[in-house]
């Protein structure tokens, strides 16, 4: 068992597709919250093999895409402070803020370093005691516990030159805001697999209960996604709405309680601004006051000035599932991976990037 190739078997995929074809009668729209699911759905050609009755929509689950320009501007302003080393996950560098990007200020001399793990940022801080190292804390529940662990380690090692700019966001409140907006009607939710490893499938129960929308947590292999679609179709056809797991080898109902505890220790909920969705209450995470000395917002006085949105870019509509990327007048013309105008064209799991890469432009 390698937990990968077994779940890509085309013979088993054909069986699942045939089951979906037999049981699906009602036209349905399922949203995949997670950008990694959008990538998997395109990479494995899932849209092409599903019956006409089943439509999948991309959701807001791309942390880089939903980061507001105001936050990006803040990071860029921080990176420009002399003596600061900005440690960031790679994709963020190319995302344009209001006026420039981290990549551009790095070219101008700012010390911006790409990290693979929060542990790398700690190492940079240890090796550069005369510099201030700022870790760009970005991500949903999958990533947040790792940043919390790094902050606790910094405390343990009494590091005084390490802080985190927290852009961390919570997935369930975003999904709630999206449903409350009434912008998009959904018949089922493909719940994020790796967020749910941490939160547990329990995090999605309110959607089934309060909105009557079937929810199934999915893994990222093609068979995982097909099984998820099959389970959602079955719920719709049987007139039920509950939370199920199509990724039982990785996800449990209660989630990873060790990771939840770490997040809870270091972070507390706060309102957060989401690109395209405005400010959503209790959807962000900031450092608790007792960890204030590791909070870059408190360590530094940052004033990035007024923000601005790129003209013509419809990233907001794309993130809400209201418009597909191809509806954007900039898509594939002005805006492409070499010259991204909006964040969704930068991130390797952004909807626009994924559409562009896998030829979704002709859909």
């Amino acid at each position: 068992m390698k937990y990968a190739s077994e779940f890509r078997d085309s013979r088993l995929a054909r069986g699942l597709i045939s089951k979906i074809e037999r049981s699906s009668r009602t036209p349905v729209r399922f949203m995949e919250f997670c950008g990694s699911h959008t990538v998997a759905i395109f990479r494995y050609g899932i849209r092409q093999v599903l019956p006409k009755t089943v439509t999948t929509l991309s959701g807001p689950g791309c942390p880089i895409c939903v980061t507001a320009n105001a936050d990006l501007d803040k990071a860029i302003a921080l990176a420009r402070i002399p003596n600061v080393i900005m440690a960031s996950f790679g994709d963020v560098l190319r995302v344009p803020g209001s006026y420039t990007s981290l990549q551009a200020v790095r070219a101008e001399g700012a010390d911006v370093r790409v990290i693979y793990s929060a542990m790398d940022a700690l190492k940079i801080a240890q090796n550069n005691p005369t510099k201030q190292v700022v870790l760009l804390g970005i991500g949903f529940e999958t990533t947040t516990p790792t940043i919390a662990a790094a902050i606790l380690q910094a405390e343990q090692e009494s590091l005084t030159n390490f802080s985190v700019l927290s852009w961390h966001k919570l997935s369930p409140p975003a999904m709630k805001a999206l449903l409350d907006s009434g912008d998009v009607a959904l018949d089922g939710l493909i719940c994020p697999g790796h967020v749910s490893i941490i939160t547990g499938s329990q995090a999605w129960e309110f959607i089934a209960r309060d909105y009557g929308i079937p929810c199934v947590v999915a893994g990222f292999e093609p068979l995982d996604i097909l099984q998820c679609v099959d389970m959602l179709v079955s719920q719709v056809e049987n007139g039920v709405a509950k939370v199920e797991i199509a990724y039982r080898r990785g996800v449990q109902h209660e989630g990873n309680t060790v990771a939840q505890q770490l997040m809870e220790t270091v972070f507390e909920p706060c309102p957060a601004q989401w690109r395209g969705m405005g400010t959503i209450p209790a959807s962000g995470l900031k450092l608790r006051p007792e960890y204030g000395r590791f909070d870059a917002e408190q360590v530094f006085d940052i004033d990035p000035g007024p923000t601005r949105e790129p003209e013509g870019c419809i990233c907001g509509e794309v993130l809400r599932g209201v418009s597909p990327p191809v509806d954007c007048p900039l898509f594939g013309k002005v805006c492409h991976p070499e010259n991204p105008v909006g964040a969704c064209m930068v991130s390797s799991e952004g909807s626009c990037f994924t559409y562009y890469l896998y030829g979704g432009k002709n859909e």
């Binding site: 068992m1 937990y3 990968a4 069986g15 950008g35 793990s117 542990m119 790792t146 697999g193 068979l223």
Partner: protein, 76 residues
């Protein structure tokens, strides 16, 4: 961003494990997954193991897919 991949734990030294992903050995932090043992597959995200994978559940899921594929074959 939430990309995470299955990795096999080869050895553990304190909180750090050496894990193998597609023939390449990497270090993974086990702080979020203290129950993990040598020989387990874990899901690794940005250098941290976030859960162990359940072999029994994986097997049951694949058995279910086999049964579904058999039914589909018979019907066609």
């Amino acid at each position: 961003m939430c990309v995470a991949i299955p990795a096999l734990i080869k050895s553990i030294d304190g909180q750090l494990a050496q894990v193998e992903i597609g023939g390449i050995t990497q270090t993974a932090n086990l702080q979020l997954c203290p129950q993990a043992q040598v020989g387990d597959y874990v899901i690794v995200h940005t250098g941290y193991a976030i859960n162990t994978l359940d072999r029994q559940e994986a097997k049951e899921t694949l058995d279910l897919f086999e049964a579904i594929a058999r039914v589909a074959q018979e019907e066609n």
